[in-house]
């Protein structure tokens, strides 16, 4: 009896180890590459900044095409791109462009990422409502987040240490902010890294010396109390510009970025239908409604 059970356990071990091999990681979802087969399921993963927008798109799309089912998840742009590389999602929502090393990993895995700009977004720099500072230049903001400026006094505020709040490194907002506002410098070691946009908003609300950054849609949309959006000066001499739809589209607001959808190969089938919908008048209307800026 004992021998039989040891044998079965050994068999289980072999089966487990064998199954651990890196097999084909396709979801099995037909991404529409074979012509004529209508895929019914669609997965979209990625940017937290875009998750509300993409969910609204998905709901509206599913309402008009009842046979389709779309699942939308957040987790950060990095998460979405990793999922695209691993083949566990059809579309990836990203608030930053794909990095060279990620593109290489994708092509190594047989995927050829296609980038489609579907909206524009401004990044709002937020401070606590009780903070008298209401405008800063890009250099000052960069100095604050990289740690060269540590007291509000240095930028025209009260004598109070600055609490720097940031998103985690999985966020596209983190990468974009680092690249364009910090000029690729590292965030200060004293910064606090919070797991999501709402955590940043909550922390800024709670702490008088706090400063953080969020997508414009989050800051303006629900009328969140207790925070104040700063106006940004592109350089010390220029006037400060508050983020809004007009200033982001016209390019006068300095911290603006395109929002992307990535697909593994040229979109076709249900994926193409969805993307066409997003770029069409209905989709862009939703972009405006959710607080972002349309591409058209």
């Amino acid at each position: 009896m004992r021998k039989i059970f040891f044998f079965l356990t050994g068999l289980l071990a072999v089966a487990l180890v064998g199954g651990c091999g890196s097999g084909d990681r396709d979801t099995g979802v037909d991404t529409g590459s074979s012509a004529g087969t209508e895929a019914r399921y669609l997965t979209i993963k990625g940017s937290d900044t875009m998750v509300h927008l993409v969910s609204t798109w998905a709901e509206d799309f599913m309402a008009s095409r009842p046979e389709s089912e779309i699942s939308v998840t957040g987790g950060g742009s990095g998460t979405g791109i990793a999922a695209l590389i691993n083949g566990t999602t059809d579309i990836c929502a990203a608030s930053r462009s794909i990095k060279e090393q990620e593109r290489k990993l994708a092509t190594d895995n047989g995927k050829n990422p296609v980038e489609i700009a579907v909206a524009r977004d401004g990044i709002a720099v937020i401070v606590n409502q009780a903070n008298p500072v209401s405008e800063l230049s890009i250099d000052q903001i960069g100095g604050i987040f990289s740690g060269t400026v540590t007291n509000w006094q240095e930028v025209g505020g009260p004598d109070q240490p600055i609490i720097v709040l940031s998103r985690e490194s999985s966020s596209g907002t983190f990468i974009f902010f680092q690249e364009h506002v910090l000029n690729k410098a590292d965030y200060t070691q004293q910064a606090r890294f919070l797991p999501g946009t709402s955590a940043v908003v909550q922390a800024v609300n709670a702490d008088r010396g706090a400063i953080g950054y969020v997508g414009l849609g989050f800051a303006t949309q629900k009328g969140v109390g207790g925070i104040k959006v700063l106006s940004v000066k592109p350089d010390q001499a220029s006037p400060a510009v508050a983020p809004s739809e007009e200033t982001v589209r016209s390019g006068t607001y300095a911290i603006a970025r395109p929002l992307f959808l990535y697909t593994s190969n040229e979109p076709s089938g249900l994926v193409k239908e969805f993307i066409d919908y997003c770029l069409g008048p209905d989709g862009q209307e939703i972009v405006r409604d959710t607080g972002y800026v349309s591409v058209q």
Binding site: R2, F5, F6, L8, T9, L12, A13, L16, V17, C20, G75, G76, G78, T79, I81, A82, I85, N86, Q101, E102, L105, Q160, P161, I163, E168, S169, S170, F174, I175, Q178, E179, K184, A185, D186, Q189, Q190, A191, R192, F193, L194, P195, A199, Q202, A203, A206, D207, R208, G209, A210
Partner: protein, 279 residues
């Protein structure tokens, strides 16, 4: 049948070690293990990437030590009270509530910490923000206390009553009996309970992710923000490109965590066995 069930668990533990080792192994040749001894953890950077485990280990250690400093007195005194001093009615009331505390999901406690504890700590110490190691330690203590109390109470209850009766017969008061006879006799069990509590605390992820502020700095100040090993894995694992250096570094964090908790458990088992009269 029973042998198979037991063998399966040994097998699974072995496979977990194997899997972690396999995913982390390439790091040894490419950037080299020395990179893990860096003083900075900056895995994503346009300048230079740092994969030092020291800030993460220091964060976990600080939060764990502080949590145990709060937990041990509360738990041991609580266990002594429940086992020796409390009336049966109080015991019936206290034990269920301790069980309830143990069963609260850690993410709910994390939320409680964020909304209630953090402002409290901030006000109490006059800080700029409540997201620091102290808040994390308080939450972890809340999670460890039920574990340590239950096991300590078991250890105290299993001291043979002859010891107590002999002590009382010799003229010692109840308090003297408790502190000079019962607790020393139950000490191995209490130590084992504390070690299991430490194991629970070291592995806690969600609560610390939400309230410690996640700054990767080497500090021993309880009022400073810290980054634990568990929170690092939880926050960054979703992002990493599969197979990249960052991915491998995270697996090394996992290996360190696994080894620490494994050693703690082995140690606890050894202590229990050595003073084996109890268990």
């Amino acid at each position: 049948m029973l042998v198979a069930a037991a063998s399966t668990s040994i097998l699974i533990v072995f496979l977990i070690f194997l899997f972690l080792g396999r995913e982390a192994a390439p790091f040894i040749s490419e950037p080299g293990l020395g990179r893990l001894l860096d003083a900075k953890w900056i895995p994503v950077s346009f300048q230079e990437e740092h994969f030092g485990l020291l800030p993460l280990i220091s964060g976990s250690v600080l939060v764990t030590v502080m949590a145990m400093i709060i937990t041990v007195p509360f738990s041991v005194l609580g266990a002594i009270y429940i086992a020796e001093v409390a009336r049966p009615l109080e015991r019936e009331l206290l034990k269920p509530f301790i069980e309830i505390l143990a069963s609260i999901p850690s993410v709910v406690l994390g939320f409680f910490g964020l909304v209630v504890l953090a402002p409290l700590v901030k006000g109490l110490f006059g800080l700029q923000t409540g997201l620091n190691a102290m808040t994390g330690a308080l939450l972890l203590a809340l999670m460890a206390i039920p574990t340590v109390i239950s096991i300590s109470e078991d250890a105290i209850m299993s001291v043979p009553s002859v010891y107590k009766r002999a002590s009382l017969a010799l003229g010692a008061s109840r308090l003297q009996t408790i502190w000079r006879v019962v607790v020393p006799a139950a000490l191995p069990g209490i130590i084992a309970a504390v070690m299991l509590g430490v194991g629970r605390v070291v592995g806690e992820t969600m609560a610390v992710l939400m309230v410690t502020g996640n700054s990767a700095v080497i500090t021993f100040s309880p009022l400073h923000s810290v980054r634990t090993m568990t929170a690092t894995i939880a926050a960054e694992m979703g992002e990493v490109p599969f197979g990249s250096i960052h991915y491998q570094a995270l697996f090394w964090v996992g290996i360190v965590l696994l080894v620490v908790t494994f050693l703690l458990n082995v140690l606890a088992q050894r202590v229990l066995k050595k003073y084996g009269m109890m268990k």
